[in-house]
Symmetry: C2
Subunit: 162 residues, 2 copies
């Protein structure tokens, strides 16, 4: 049934009590993102797929908390989303124009805008990816109103980069 | 072979990348300590047995890092002890006198001394345990020299308390 996770699957893929998902940049890129891009199996589906530009940042917590998978994880594994103030997800980039490379990071209520320099992500001493920091602004550029929402966008530094 | 953990066992009981052991007081008492006292199976043997009063606090990291289990966890599960500054373990209390109830918390180099009030540990609204905070002093009471080492000692609030 595709990406669906049923009760038995979820029960088998729990982590013991006391463990929290606090991944390093290296783990996010070198394990989770690399496997996702290669369509390989990820041990525990703790990172959800969403369409980031169809949802406002303040709705993310509701979406992630209310999904079936997270309810299972919450109840049976004690990963404890309720005490988190960070959320992890996969999302495709939305191109501004079908033929272009510029990225459209607008939602209904506002837009994500890059800030600072991208940070390199290394695995041992090898460059495996980059981390871009974005801030959410309400409204429309160039007149947006800055908010406290911050996102780190990770990309692989390989040819398979999507 | 009793409490021994062999290579196969350890490999099977890994957690996925990105998970760190940051248990709450409730999880430590309500899951780990309760199961330990009842001799029930613990999902992942992440909390080691040590004899706390035969080892100095600054040697704990070495002991825990060098054990077979932790090496496996370190290499294969990425729990990442190397970046921790907290360690978790089980230890029996040492009575000062065979017939008494006073506890002997001295090591070769110093002693653990309680500080502040014990903190109640609740599971939902029920009291399940207490947490005592202790500080390590080098030397012998009453002339010890205070250090930065702090320990939280958890006990069950039940009749099976040991």
């Amino acid at each position: 049934s595709g990406g669906g996770v049923d009760h038995m699957d979820s029960m088998e893929s729990c982590v013991p009590p006391g463990f929290r998902f606090h991944p390093t940049d290296e783990e996010l890129v070198g394990y989770y993102l690399r496997k996702k891009v290669a369509s390989q199996k990820i041990d525990l589906d703790v990172i959800r797929d969403i369409d980031l530009y169809r949802i406002e940042p303040w709705d993310l917590t509701v979406l992630i908390f209310c999904s079936n998978l997270s309810e299972c994880i919450e109840e049976h594994c004690g990963i404890g989303y309720e005490e988190q103030n960070e959320w992890y997800f996969f999302s495709f980039k939305d191109r501004k124009y079908p033929t272009g490379t510029r990225t459209n990071r607008a939602t209904m209520a506002g837009f994500w805008k890059a800030t600072g320099r991208d940070k390199a992500v290394h695995e041992r001493s090898r460059l495996i990816g980059m981390r871009k920091t974005l801030v959410f602004y309400k409204g429309r550029a160039p007149n947006g109103q800055k908010t406290d929402w911050i996102m780190h966008e990770y990309r692989l530094e390989t040819d398979e980069n999507i």
